[in-house]
Amino acid sequence: MKEKTIGVIKYFVLAIIILIILVPLIWILSLSLRYPEEVFEILPTKITFGNFPKAITQNEVWVGVSFARMVGNSLLVSTISIIGIIIISILAAFGFSNYNFPGKESIFIAFLLSFMLPVQVLLIPLFFLMKNMGLIKSYLALILPYIAFGFPVGTLILRSFFEKIPVEIKEAAIIDGAGDTRVLFNIVLPLARPAIATVIIFSFLTVWNEFLFALVFIREDTMQTIPVVLSRMIQSQFSKIIYEVYSATIVLTMIPTLIIFVIFQKWFIAGLSAGAVKG
């Protein structure tokens, strides 16, 4: 009997925890399925899927950039940034793990400190750097800083993985006449696939969700990424916000994150609990 009571309490507590997480998400989903006249009711009497096409087609009128372009911007910026982060992290991690040179550990720690610095601290100088380089109407204004602030985590994760690869494997290749670059490409990289995947997934998450750089560095409405375009919906203070379309847009832009999370959740949780990361 007592065990039964504990069991009931246990699942009651669990239900509360899960509800606290899910209620806001369910609420926004529910708003996205409503007719305009029921947006300020707790429960709707009827539902519609008409807000999703509206979110896709009317985005341009509403926030000055089409839905497809907005998603395209985010995809483009994320993809190129991640490629840059991966290449630079692999090279740096290989340098740190395979060679000894004066100042190695100091440089490594300086890299680590740099990604923990609040980006707001460098907002002003970086903006003028981009402006003087003539980049504020180019995607590079985002891609370059994303690489700069993304490679330290990548280097950290990859270095610790590279150092776990047994020296014997590398030495065997060298005896067979392989040079350093062949050791990197033929031995280290194939073994490091899980670590590289972690870096890709983590970088994607950071870059895809990044807001402040995207808000300040891109001075061209049609080139802005999803978070900035979303944020403009609440900034349009002078026009009435159409909440059912607002909610539908949120739901639509949440779908990629949800899909990626469902597929890769083990990687995320492993990558994050490696302790290396939190924006």
């Binding site: 190695k104 890299f111 609040p118 100088p125 350093d180 909610s247 999370f261």
Partner: protein
Amino acid sequence: MLGNLSKNKKQIRGYLFILPAFLFFLIFLIYPIIFSTALSFYDWSGYSNNPFQNFIGLNNYIRMFNDPVFWTSFKNTIYFVILSIIFQNVFGLSISMFLFYGKIKASSLWRSIVFFPAMLSAVMVGMIWRRIFMGDGLLNMILSSIDSSLGNFQWLGNMVTPIFVVILINTWQWTGYNMVLYYAGLQGVNNLLIESAKVDGANWLQTITKIVIPQLYKTISLAVILNIIGGFKVFDIVYIMTGGGPAHASEVITSHIYNQSFSMLGQNRMGYGSAMAAVLAVVVIVFAAIRIRVERKMD
């Protein structure tokens, strides 16, 4: 080490491999830090071509000490840091122990759900919660359906509650992250010690405080440091939920820097923004250095 190269050649190769990273580091970190530090001693609106015309010495720093909004933002940032530490760690640790020791069915599914908000952009999280805490949002709808005299409170439109609402929402987003850290930590806790404590007649509270928590010492220090750094950095969620308002009541240091430097309505005081940024940078670097020490000890 690799190959039959001379020591010098090997060193040069090492430098070559880290060169691309180092160039990014120089251009996008070191140069901006120097530029920003220098700028903090000048008065510059951002419009003239030469930032370094009006040298004003320490005036930007003096202005900071006399700026009531800076002190509000400082106070709110401290609230953010302290309450984030308390909420995220207490909830994160409790939920992880609940799922780890509670013999809950499908516990990995529940873990994923609690973790999910950490995947979303703070912009999206803020926009979702605005539909709950705005005057015409869900919370007031529910309150007024309970009693028609309730439901008129402007949760984000007064001088006291907005910052705490934002802190709660930030807690909602990041508790799952802390839970995952603690869950990983719990897997390293020695179960034999727990069993023998039970045999010795310890109740569950004693077991947790005397056996489990001491063994989580490293995870706790890491989580606390992450919360401190995260708290000082917070910007997006504040910007979306309140924009620092009303009348700067919910301003944090980062939003104050942004509003002073880039807001369309602000006065674009780049030098002043840089001075505040310098102070914030020093604070965070101290904690970041502590974090690196903690992590290195964990390895």
